[in-house]
Amino acid sequence: MDIITIAFYFFAILIIASGIVVVLSKNVMHSAFALMFTFFSVAGLYVLLNADFLAITQIMIYIGGILVLIIFGVMLTTRITGVDIKTGAIGKIGFIATGILCTLIATGLIVLFITTRWPVSEQVTVTTTVKQIGNELLTNYLLAFEAASMLLLIAIVGAAFIARRK
């Protein structure tokens, strides 16, 4: 077992365990903190996959942005002092039926993935992807890049407009 294999299994177990905590925890705050571990482990997987820029982006945007936003949402919409921080789920029958459905979907996907022959090309050694990504974003994907910036602007204005106090 080399270090890559150990690191992969460490991150995989962390992702699945904290993902289970996210979807099953009764407390919204516990779910939010488990989500942080999931995001960190996914960033670790990106490092293992030679995606250094994506790993940093994952930490900065998901953990520094989206997770903080979600925690703000939790704090603004639950009465912390009351008992309302506990969140219910749908009834027991629906819960079990959904569990069976999702297990079936997971098994189906895994069987599909394992039985398919994926043509894997030989490994290329790369040192950094930042330069490549920057070049691609400002040449081939320039239109999509500008559209994304417009989308972000519209999303900021829209979110501020929707959430303002009447």
């Binding site: 979807v23 979600i70 999702c102 894997v120 959430a163």
Partner: protein, 102 residues
């Protein structure tokens, strides 16, 4: 056994199913949002894994960057809507929000 493409995509399938389970079973709108983030992360793991094992092209990385951008937009808008719902209904249980004129 060497860690290969299969390991990553099986992991992303499991993460996707967990997120789907969260989206369907939870009542709290913020919990639904968290399930959605899990699903988007699963998709991103697939993109990056295929980018690495497809000859280290950066197309997969660019797709993942746009997924992250869209996830940020979606989280901001969704939380604004959730705050508005909270002001009108005093709760954010998605199964009880069933009248249009709050």
């Amino acid at each position: 056994m060497q860690v290969g493409l299969i390991h990553y995509i099986v992991l992303s399938a499991i993460l996707f199913s967990l997120g789907l389970f969260g989206i369907i079973t939870r009542k709290n709108a913020i919990m639904v949002l968290m399930g959605l983030e899990l699903v988007l992360n699963a998709a991103n793991i697939n993109f990056i894994a295929f980018a690495k094992y497809g000859g280290m092209k950066t197309e997969g990385h660019i797709a993942a960057i746009f997924v992250i951008i869209l996830a940020a937009c979606e989280a901001a808008i969704a939380l604004a809507i959730i705050l508005n719902i909270y002001q009108n209904f005093r709760h954010i249980n998605v199964d009880e929000i069933d009248n249009l004129k709050g």
